[in-house]
């Protein structure tokens, strides 16, 4: 394969299925995760958590715990008040201290913490801490929380409404007034979340001599965490150094800010001994960074006589939980980046209300908000298709943004880079054998079976930008990502980046790019992680960005380094620099046949033969480049901006059968076509699709954080929170269309969040297609057996 930006006749690595460099170590159990790290004098932390959803703390007595053998330090809210600021949050100023200071606001909120010589000793000590609570009335329903006289989650706010706004893009009212058809529905997306197989973990080490903090952890974005700790712990940001270990998945759901601050306080109180906290699964499920999207929707679409959707309005009431510390509100803003999906809908309105309740604060989760939004939009498309008796695939086709209209600006302001939506639809329908599938369905229905087919299409916004979240208070534009490429005296290449292994194969991807640029073997390139005190600006994985961002950064560094090396060669041979060319790993000079130098020779010369080095060129064969997405704009007062750089698109075709006796939904067939531009390592792209699809199946059918009316969590183990197993996930048929992005160096689009954008929508479209002959529609996910069965029974009654 060839790419204009790579100086080789054909790539050996980019665009090919490449086995991951990460795997040998992972498969041997040698990769070091945070709980594998042991530091000298290290202590272990355990956290005492609130058993109540809402209460005043009238007193805490830690004296008995402090005298136990092996207990070195205990912290409470008093320490947090003395040393810390409240957490950063979205919306702003809805953060609280890492340990409750006078009020607990959700079950599981930290109340005290112990550092001891072992985790067991620390947990034993928690039992000797006495807390007196004065229970307060909790509020767990966001609509009740908005009523006058509701208990207040954060009393001095005077309200539980964190943010309320209405954004209007285009002539919405006129479109509805002139519509041939208007459809309105309500939907409920229940709270779910990330649940990576490794929970959060951290080791904090305070140096009482230098007043510097060193942190190791299972951290998705080391630089963001370092800034957060500097802020809450009131430490200059250049005195916090964070190094992330390889981590066992994240999916946005490794919050842990409180644990980081608590261990830092404990280390300070323990005279600087390192303090480790490993969140256990129950802590994760009850109060970790793994809960997201607790949403109530009302949506309307205006449709013309030909089935074209002319306007979309969505009203969202989003239950954010007790504080904004998990930045879950970003997930309510992100749909603005792809509000109207793949459709040429000319006008839209978004009315959103973020509400505090006495539940765990919501955090990020893969997809960061659009998956519920697209569930709503795709159900609305099917509501229209059923009413107008148009095939759902055809309804989507007539509403698609045409291929010749890219780049295409959607009403909510973002610009889609490229796409071939009808082609992707055709590919999916062909793969599924859609017509035969409908025939099979008709036969099944004739036998009284509840068989349904869902056809859905959505966008995956890729390469996130903070400007997409301006309405919830994010002020930045751009998300810089850097890489340093250096070549040693013997020609070995090292790339330094600011993030750790998380599972997407990014170190392999960086190696592919750099190995192709200098035409060397994959194993000749090593990728290493720098901690935050050394790394160039970096965010790391998140928002379907890193594949595009890190290859662009590495490419920029390679180009810079090659230019420097060209200058060396030019000086050596006394020719203008423009006469020197790097091609297929060799520097040659125009019109000087036989004059050539390898990359290793030039690097070796720079470092070992300063006598030959041209004047004005330093001897370091190294370059750094920090990339940020081009052409981004500051958001306007309606939240409109060029935000996410790429727009991948996909179509899923799903066939399900519902057992009317039990309400169980079984997936019979699952076919998909997607277009995420150039596939840099097709095997890992496929892995992202399959993994994300499984999370989407979980969202559609199984996963739910359940609370009772009093705010007590009813999910405490993985026997309650139903992560799909191999028995629940269908074997998929997949095909790809490739429409390169004109905005990224290699034509790739963000694809890491992937199928979770569409899978819940597609499965629910199929479920509702199956239920249509019964005259009922399920407007709530997950489509658990209880919900489906109840719906069928209500109809019968």
């Amino acid at each position: 394969m060839t790419y204009g930006c790579l100086p080789v006749s054909a790539t050996r690595w980019i665009g090919h299925d490449v086995a991951r460099k990460e795997d040998r170590s992972l498969l041997s159990g040698r990769t070091r995760f945070i709980d594998d790290v042991v530091l000298p004098q290290m202590l272990h932390c355990a956290i005492l958590r609130s058993p109540l959803p809402h209460a005043h703390i009238s007193s805490i007595d830690t004296s008995e715990a402090e005298t136990l053998p092996g207990v070195i330090a205990v912290v409470t809210g008093a320490d947090a008040l003395a040393w810390c600021k409240p957490a950063g949050s979205a919306p702003k100023r809805w953060g609280v201290h890492s340990i409750a200071t006078d009020t607990v606001r959700f079950v599981g909120e930290p109340v005290a913490a112990v550092a001891a010589v072992s985790r067991a000793a620390a947990e034993d000590a928690l039992e000797r801490i006495t807390v007196d609570y004065e229970p307060l009335e909790p509020v767990t329903d966001p609509f009740a929380a908005m009523e006058a006289g509701s208990p207040l989650v954060i009393e001095d706010k005077g309200t539980n409404v964190m943010l309320q706004c209405e954004l209007t893009w285009g002539e919405v009212d006129a479109a509805f007034a002139g519509a041939a058809h208007v459809f309105t529905e309500r939907f409920r997306w229940n709270r779910l979340g990330a649940n990576p197989m490794e929970t959060f973990g951290v080791i904090s080490e305070w140096d009482p001599g230098t007043l510097e903090l060193t942190v190791h952890g299972s951290i998705q974005s080391p630089s963001l965490s370092a800034l957060g700790m500097a802020s809450t712990l009131r430490i200059p940001s250049n005195k916090v150094n964070v190094k992330s270990m390889a981590h066992g998945g994240s999916f946005g759901g490794k919050g842990g800010g409180r644990g980081m601050d608590i261990t830092a306080m404990l280390s300070r109180k323990a005279g600087g001994r390192p303090v480790k906290w490993i969140e256990d699964r129950m802590e994760y499920l009850v109060a970790g960074g793994g809960q997201a999207w607790d949403r109530h929707y009302e949506a309307s679409i205006a449709v013309d006589a030909g089935g074209r959707v002319t306007a979309l309005t969505v009203t969202l009431v989003d239950d954010i939980g007790a504080t904004g510390e998990g930045f879950g509100a970003i997930g309510a803003a992100k749909p603005i980046a792809a509000f109207t999906g793949p459709y040429a809908i000319g006008a839209a309105r978004y009315n959103l209300t973020l509400v505090a309740t006495n539940k765990t604060p919501v955090s990020a989760y893969r997809g960061m908000g659009p998956p519920p939004h697209f569930l709503v939009l795709e159900q609305m498309m099917d509501v229209a298709a059923r009413a107008l008796e148009i095939d759902p695939a055809e309804l989507r086709r007539i509403n698609f943004i045409p291929s010749d209209q890219f780049p295409y600006t959607i009403p909510s302001g973002n610009e889609y880079d490229s796409g071939s939506y009808a082609e992707v639809l055709d590919a999916a329908l062909d793969l599924a054998g859609y017509k035969e599938m409908r025939d099979t369905q008709a036969d099944a229905r004739a036998q009284g079976r509840l068989v349904g087919i869902g056809v859905a299409s959505t966008i995956e916004p890729g390469v996130f930008d903070w400007n997409a979240y301006s309405i919830v208070g994010m002020s930045q534009t751009g998300v810089p990502e850097g890489a340093t490429v250096s070549i040693d005296m013997l020609g070995a290449i090292t790339v330094r980046v600011g993030f750790s292994l998380e599972g997407q194969g990014q170190y392999t991807l960086v190696s592919q790019l750099v190995a192709d640029f200098f035409a060397v073997d994959l194993d000749d390139v090593r990728v290493v992680q720098l901690d935050t005190q050394s790394a160039p600006p970096s965010f790391g994985p998140g928002g379907s960005r890193l594949g595009v961002a890190i290859t662009a950064a590495a490419l920029g560094a390679c180009r810079r380094l090659a230019a420097k090396m060209c200058s060396v060669v030019a000086g050596l041979f006394g020719v203008p620099v423009d006469d020197v060319v790097l091609w297929d790993g060799v520097f040659t000079v125009k019109e000087r046949e036989g004059v050539e130098m390898s990359v290793a020779q030039v690097a070796g010369l720079m470092l070992a033969r300063c006598d030959l080095l041209p004047d004005g060129i330093d001897p370091l064969p190294e370059a750094t480049y920090v990339w940020t997405a081009p052409g981004r704009t500051k958001a306007d007062d309606q939240g409109r901006a060029k935000s996410y750089l790429t727009a991948a698109q996909s179509v899923h075709v799903v066939m399900v059968e519902i057992d009317p006796e039990t309400g169980v939904v079984e997936i019979l067939e699952y076919c998909l076509a997607d277009d995420c531009g150039t596939r840099l390592n097709p095997a890992t792209v496929e892995g992202q699709t399959e993994g994300s699809l499984a999370q989407g199946v979980g969202a559609a059918l199984y996963e739910e954080y359940v609370y009772d009316d009093e705010g007590q969590p009813l999910v405490g183990t993985l026997a309650d929170y139903l992560i799909p197993t191999i028995n629940e996930i269908p074997t998929t048929k997949k095909t790809a269309v490739v429409t390169p992005s004109p905005f990224t160096p290699l034509g790739a689009k963000g694809c890491g969040e992937g199928a979770i954008h569409i899978t819940p929508a597609a499965v629910m479209c199929a479920v509702n297609d199956a239920l249509a002959p019964e005259g009922v529609m399920l407007r709530e996910v997950p489509a658990s057996p209880r919900r489906v069965w109840n719906l069928i029974q209500e109809r019968k009654a």
């Binding site: 992972l26 498969l27 041997s28 067991a120 699964r281 292994l501 499984a694 026997a719 197993t725």
Partner: protein
Amino acid sequence: MSGELRVRLRVNGTTREALVEPRTTLADLLRNELGLTGTHVGCEHGVCGACTVVVDGRAARSCLMLAVQADGAEVTTIEGLAGADGSLHPIQEAFAQEHGLQCGFCTPGILMALHALLVENPEAGEDEIRDVLGGQLCRCTGYQSIMRSALRAAADVRAAALEVAG
């Protein structure tokens, strides 16, 4: 807690001894006392399967087993799967080739569960593999690549056995 007990067991072919509290799990013994941190702990309540090791030839959740219950047992962990020279076991090789892992945290447990199955039943097919993997949670891969890897591993393990026999 007082009253530590002496545990003596064979781990990856080597006899090991440790003093443990009665409440210490086998997972904690392996990780914290014996330094074998390739066994990962994902839930500590027996659902996720990340901590699976082989005890006397059978897959076991090391988070649900007390260390003292393993006294006298023969235990194999992920560190014992590859050859002494670091050469990957055919199961590990198959997962590398078929992209059967992403973050790799759940992977040691999956490999050990499969290893126990294929030692016990080298002819195991998709149904038997699915049955065993039904007890192992993975949040990254979506399982399809794990099944591809496992089927390849089973075939490769059988081929390797034939080669030895032949």
